[in-house]
């Protein structure tokens, strides 16, 4: 914690977090520290370019951010070629330490090598950094026409437990059991984040998605936690929607939803469904929130090894994730600038990469965005 933060804390007293209205984790104090830093002191953020098209789109992000004058200094880390014994995966201990130190990161697509004896890269990141919420805003990009024009929702998914606990066993031959775990602590944590997010971003409604009519105790516990948190935010409407109704309403009329909060499996499916509504994973930003205010924004698409190195990749997903990261850091002005530049470039339609139906290269597209800044 920097000296500025300590001074601020002592001056305003312990109520500093409440006054500044940020979230209850100590990430608030760190943001205070940043706000107190002059703009000449850059913020260090970890960057994982990733594999495949990762490096190209990471370049693109760096260029756009420099042109926009964002005070961020990137600390680049690559996935190693050997298994690090401290992390049991190809991600080195230093990379993880770097994220823990900087509190923010941006991650490109990583391809987990096939094989045994190591954890998947995403799983390592999630467990080591305790990333408990995955936030994905999905909105229709004006100018890029899909079958749905009025999508504007955010999915917040619990990221640590639920059906993805990985606890399975074979009872007898031919009979397998898989455990789905829901705890009060994790559900409260993600519900708190969801309502806080809704409040800070001016959203009016939070819907909890569940299947508590069948899975009464597990999803019932999740709902109970959501209700408890909802009581603390009376200005935000809270509703509960059964997942089959939710799926149907999403494909018929996505404008009905605002912020969605759900356990792990439903979150996975619904967030991908919503990504499909607005144009696919190549355009979807995503951000993982961890304890202590850690935020790791990432591009959720794959590493596309077939177009790697050919300057054809679409950097939109990573750019929009970078914008989410900036908003988390409260650099809202630059975030808006970059966001509008991206939207306008796509809306104009002159420079679009191949996956959006155009023929520009990555560099041309990046240049067009920089011109729009």
């Amino acid at each position: 914690m920097t000296m500025a933060a300590n001074l601020a804390r002592r001056l305003i007293g312990n109520r500093s977090t409440q006054i500044l209205g940020a979230d209850s984790s100590s990430g608030a104090a760190t943001s205070v520290a940043r706000a107190f830093c002059s703009s000449s002191t850059p913020i260090t953020a970890t960057l994982f370019p990733g594999d495949g098209i990762g490096p190209e789109i990471a370049e693109s992000v760096k260029k756009v951010f420099t042109t926009a004058g964002v005070p961020i200094e990137w600390e680049e880390h690559y996935v190693g070629t050997e298994i690090d014994p401290r992390t049991q995966s190809f991600l080195t201990w230093d990379s993880l330490e770097s994220v823990r130190r900087n509190k923010v990161g941006l991650k490109g697509p990583m391809a987990t090598p096939i094989g045994k004896g190591h954890r998947s890269l995403n799983l390592t990141l999630r467990k080591e950094l305790n990333l408990y919420a995955n936030v994905r805003p999905c909105y229709s990009l004006p100018g890029y026409k899909t079958r749905y024009d009025d999508v504007d929702l955010i999915t917040i998914r619990e990221n640590t437990e639920g059906e993805y606990s990985g606890l399975e066993h074979q009872v007898v031959r031919g009979v397998v059991e898989s455990l789905k775990i829901i705890t009060r602590q994790a559900s409260l944590r993600v519900a708190e984040y969801a309502f806080l997010y809704a409040k800070t971003h001016g959203r009016e409604r939070v819907s909890a998605i569940h299947k508590a009519n069948i899975m009464q105790k597990t999803d019932g516990l999740f709902l109970k936690c959501c209700r408890e948190v909802a009581e603390k935010y009376p200005e935000i409407t809270y509703e509960e929607v059964v997942i089959d109704n939710c799926c149907m309403m999403l494909v018929k009329n996505p404008a009905l939803f605002d912020v969605l909060v759900m356990p792990n499996l439903y979150g996975d499916i619904i967030s991908d469904l919503c990504a499909g509504l607005v144009g696919g994973l190549g355009l979807t930003p995503s951000c993982n929130i961890g304890e202590d205010g850690v935020a790791l924004a990432e591009a959720v698409h794959g590493s596309a090894p077939d177009i790697a190195g050919k300057n054809l990749a679409n950097p939109t997903a990573l750019l929009l994730s970078g914008v989410m990261m900036l908003r988390h850091l409260k650099l809202n002005e630059q975030a808006e600038q970059i966001h509008s530049a991206i939207i306008n470039t796509i809306a104009e339609g002159k420079y679009r990469t191949a996956d959006l139906g155009g023929s520009s290269t990555t560099t041309e597209f990046t240049k067009a965005i920089c011109d729009h800044l």
Binding site: V176, E177, K217
Partner: protein, 368 residues
């Protein structure tokens, strides 16, 4: 019967631009002596809009003089368990038609739908999600049959609290049930001239459970060389359904994913108010609205009596085929599709403003 077929044929020939296509199934079949005797079908009206829509079916059946006789049993969603007499009745009649049964959220009452399915071992749930001509939706060329395993998986109902604040739920997958549903899916595809079967799973995360499901599907696929088989992860599947639904044909899934996929596919094809479906086991069959979203409706719809009876009417046509009365099934389907095509009488979920009764009257008028 010959007279009726002749009249249908002459109408089609006279009006080649007739929007609804000729029934794809052969109308002529050899009735055996006694086939015309009325069959008894258990009827469970259910909760919410259930009584409305099952009432609609009864009216239409009567207007058609269909040889079906309903034995009605009242079951409410908040009962502890399905009454013995109802189970007995279904076992006796082998066929049941039901409206939705509400399962109270977090209520401590186990789902009656699940109970029925487990008791009668009704292991396959089928929803045919297909664009209805005349109903404009965002997606065209949708013709997906979702076959969902109905007895185990995430809906086993085995939950317990480990310590206060930590709850576990067991998802059980067995080779026996997975094989059964895979065999059913491939046989369905074979008998109905379907070209592709897709298995939906999440085996990259749930390696043992969904891995077992996939293994069973792969084994069964070997016996059907004429049918293409592929696998898709459930989140990618939902994305593809929304973007390119025409790539899917028959989908076979475990319990929970099937629920989501069926509702999503029904939504893109026009809504769960129009999709027919049924649940079938080795010996019994229960017909109800295809996908489960909205099958109980909300209080407003019940009050205003504006529930959509189309799904249950089309499911009862499936039931008539199951009972071996194909001509009645064809007449019913043609009438319902004509009413939707004309667009004059549609309920709220299809963009109109009619009540259930008005739709029923229109269907009866369209029967011939």
């Amino acid at each position: 019967m010959v007279r009726r077929s002749a009249s249908i044929l002459s109408r089609l020939l006279a009006n080649p631009s007739s929007p609804f296509t000729a029934p794809s199934r052969s109308i002529t079949y050899m009735p055996r002596p006694g086939d015309g005797a009325p069959r008894i079908v258990t009827l469970i009206p259910g909760d919410g809009i259930g009584p409305l829509v099952t009432g609609a079916v009864e009216q239409v059946m009567e207007a058609m003089h269909a040889p079906v006789h309903f034995e009605r049993y009242e079951v409410r969603g908040n009962m502890r368990k399905v009454p013995e007499e109802v189970i007995e009745s279904v076992k006796r009649n082998k066929v049941c038609l039901k409206g939705g049964l509400a399962t109270p959220v977090g209520g401590g009452v186990s789902s009656l739908n699940m109970q029925l399915r487990k008791e009668l071992d009704i292991f396959a749930s089928l929803v045919n999600c297909i664009n209805v001509p005349g109903l404009v939706t965002r997606h065209e060329n949708v013709d997906i049959v979702v076959i969902r395993e109905n007895t185990e998986g995430e809906y086993s109902g085995l939950e317990h609290e480990v310590v206060p604040g930590v709850v576990e739920s067991l998802k059980v997958i067995t080779k026996f049930c997975s094989e059964r549903i895979a065999r059913y899916a491939f046989e369905y595809a074979y008998l109905n001239n379907r070209k592709k079967v897709t298995a939906v799973h999440k085996a990259n995360i749930m390696k043992l459970a969904d891995g077992l499901f996939l293994e069973s599907c792969r084994e069964v696929a070997k016996n059907y060389s004429g049918i293409t088989y592929n696998e898709i992860i459930v989140d990618n599947c939902c994305m593809q359904l929304v973007a390119k639904p025409e790539q899917f044909d028959v989908m076979v899934t475990p319990n929970l994913y099937g629920n989501l996929i069926a509702n999503t596919a029904a939504g893109i094809a026009g809504g769960t108010g129009v999709m027919p479906g049924g649940n079938v086991g080795a010996e019994h069959a229960i017909f109800e609205q295809g996908a489960s979203a909205g099958n109980v409706g909300n209080d407003k719809i019940v009050e205003q009596k504006k529930a959509n009876p189309v799904a249950l009417l089309l499911s009862s046509a499936m039931m008539l085929r199951h009972l071996r009365f194909p001509t009645f099934a064809d007449r019913l389907e043609t009438a319902v599709k004509q009413v939707i095509q004309e667009g004059k009488c549609r309920t709220k979920d299809l963009g109109g403003d009619c009540t259930t009764q008005e739709v029923v009257d229109a269907v009866i008028a369209a029967l011939e």
